[in-house]
Amino acid sequence: MSHPYAQTGLPTALPYTDEHAIFRSSARRFFETEVAPKQAEWEEAHLTPRSIWKRAGELGFLCPRLPEQYGGAGADFLHAVILAEEQVRSGAIAPMYTLQSDVVAPYLLQYGTEEQKQRYLPAMASGDCIASIGMTEPSAGSDLQGIRTTAKRTKDGYAINGQKTFISNGINADLVVLAAKTDAAAGARGVSLFLVDTATRGFSRGRNLKKLGQHAADTAELFFDDMRVPEEALLGGIEGRGFPQLMDRLVEERLMTGVVSVAMIDRALALTIQYVKDRKAFGQRVLDFQNTRFTLAEAKTEAAVLHAFLEQCILDFMAGTLDPATSAMLKYWSTEQQNAIVDDCLQLHGGYGYILDYPIAKMWADGRISKIYGGANEIMKDIIGRTLGGRTR
């Protein structure tokens, strides 16, 4: 059996079962009928309503991988893949469910105390609690050790001061997993993560940032002005673990970025192949021009290569053997190809490609951030570059 979005007849290497197929078709129905049709409205609002988070929770589409005791379904990683693929396929950029399910929830599950898990995870799975990650600062992008937000010990907890920016879900967030320095002198070892309730005094949100694309997804600055949090807010209860905690999670985050980018490529190709078949110019179909066929043949091949690589990465991840450098290759290459292919596809749309009524135009503007987020691709090359050496066989 081939993957439903495979670019070739190659059989999938992933262990999909019938249950996955059922899950996929219900996810598809949800995204196609309840999420995608609202995108334009949410883009105007630059926000998604809480109701759609609740709805996803009801249907089991939030945090399905959590154990049942924390509100999840104990699902495997392929469920996360399916959800991401189906959301992309429907054309819905927002809500950023994967941020909730695949980025934030694992922090709590992996590092949190039992109390922290009980407090937040069921609410995240139900959609009652919307979560975000507070890492990036105005003066520190990919450079985590350069953060300036501080958490100073008080009698019964911490006083947090600082500022974060580019925070996805920042406007909606009830919970922020916040990186702060508990020991300014200790470098990487001085960074700790906190579970911050956004109802806390001293917390405030800045503007909903205007972005080049991804308009339905809220992105905010966050401010912390002598915000007091209790000791129990420290993730895992031990100071100075923030940096390794963040680092450990990156492999999975890059893998999810790859899943999304490959799905974007699949969608761009599907849309464009349809377009060039329908559209005529100079008396023939646009597909009939050799330039069109070659351009799409190249894109389809890149997609096929990426499918094979992504599946291998997923298998390795599920087996616990996906390493940082390989995940960095996936993130770098998939996002570069996504941008290049979407750009080529836009060009094949001619003037319509620049008009936001056409999905390819939105995909172009939405997708540009992928070469930057989750660690800029220059960081990926740096990671790969550091591991060079030795023969490959």
């Binding site: 580019f166 972005k211 080049l212 620049y354 009524d357 540009r368």
Partner: protein, 380 residues
């Protein structure tokens, strides 16, 4: 560094005036006009008053009597404030010349002075839903009735389509004659019954530049609406204008490429990461060295083509080369420069984000770059 060799003190005075205008009358309203999706009529009147419109037009008709470099200066100065969607160049340097070069004396007297003052804002309507770069395939017709015409059809992607009140429309006066059957008409929108504007199209960038579909439902055109007074001249008129139009597109592309480099040099010289300035990373310096090289080559080629144009020697093929190369490089450089801005590059408050979004249009508009390559390929 190679520098432009063409500016006289008079040009520099003009530049200073344009810059003041851009900073005072445009920059403060940029965001508002982008949100509105259009520029207001007052802007055009003010630009006319300030001498920014129709700078090349003969003073006899109210123009500035300038040269191609006035057009370049306006584009450079609007580029500097990252306001690529101001369409003065379209009105002044692309459309007005049709009337000045091809119009009857009556048409010139009627329209040109008011175009110079901004009372008339012009648009040109060529592209149709089924005919992008393929002009001969247009379906809009102007059927002779009595001693006038009835215009029927539909246009798309028309810049100034919302704000324009004078539209140059390409239509078939003789459906069977192919290229020879196309004529151009001057349509004053206020009087035009049966003329409607579609919605203002939402674009990736260039958001203050309105872009519309236009519909013509049996619109009556008097005989004096026919540009030049002779039917069937539309195709050669359009063809003869293409080199200059592509030259103008390249001006914008080159100016944007330069500005993107300049902004990014400034940004990476200040911004730090991992304990050093971004500019101190070899990758940053190499990427900017590549970008700068493209900017400089584009500038030199542009100026050479401008020289040739002024001497009457710019051919269609060379203009096609200039258009695709400069718009392609503009887009590449904007992409690299955005990347060097990191997350900020994706935020619309940074000009590089706007430049990137704007730049994507250049490879499509004015004949896609594939059309340009086709033109060049035919001459091999």
């Amino acid at each position: 560094m190679i520098r432009s060799r063409h500016y006289t003190p008079a040009h520099e005075d003009f530049r200073a005036g344009v810059r003041r205008f851009m900073e005072k009358e445009c920059a403060p309203y940029r965001d508002a006009w982008q949100a509105a999706g259009r520029t207001p009529p007052e802007l055009w009147r003010k630009a006319g008053e300030a001498g920014l419109l129709c700078t090349k037009m003969s003073p006899e008709y109210g123009g500035g009597g300038g040269d191609l470099f006035h057009c370049l200066i306006v584009l450079e100065e609007q580029t500097r404030i990252c306001f690529n969607e101001l369409t003065f160049y379209l009105h002044s340097d692309i459309i007005a010349p049709y009337i000045e070069l091809y119009g009857t004396e009556d048409q010139k007297r009627r329209y040109l002075p008011k175009m110079a003052t901004g009372e008339f804002v012009a648009a040109i309507a060529m592209t149709e839903p089924g005919a992008g770069s393929d002009l001969q395939a247009i379906r809009t017709t102007a059927r002779a009735v009595g001693n006038g015409y009835r215009l029927n059809g539909q246009k798309v992607f028309i810049s100034n389509g919302q704000v324009g009140n004078l539209i140059v429309v390409a239509a078939k006066t003789d459906g069977g004659a192919g290229a020879k059957g196309i004529s151009l008409f001057l349509l004053e929108t206020e009087k035009a019954e049966g003329f409607t504007r579609g919605k203002n199209l939402k674009k990736i960038g260039c958001k203050a530049q309105d872009s519309s579909e236009l519909f013509f439902d049996d619109v009556y055109l008097p005989p004096e609406a026919l540009l030049g007074g002779v039917e069937g001249q539309g195709f050669p008129m359009l063809m003869r204008r293409l080199p200059e139009e592509r030259l103008i597109m390249a001006m914008s592309a080159v100016a944007n490429t330069e500005e993107a480099v300049t902004e990014t040099v400034a940004y990476t010289s200040e911004r730090k990461a991992f304990g050093q300035r971004l500019m101190d990373f070899q990758n940053t310096r190499f990427k900017l060295a590549e970008a700068k090289t493209k900017a400089v080559l584009g500038r030199v080629f542009l100026e050479r083509c401008m020289d040739a144009f002024i001497e009457g020697k710019l051919d269609t093929t060379t203009a096609a080369m200039l258009k695709w190369w400069t718009t392609q490089r503009q887009n590449e450089v904007a992409d690299e420069c955005l990347q060097l801005h990191g997350g900020y590059g994706y935020m619309m408050e940074y000009d590089i984000a706007r430049r990137y979004a704007d730049s994507r249009l250049g490879r499509i508009a004015g004949g896609t770059n594939e059309i340009m390559k086709d033109i060049i390929g035919r001459t091999l």
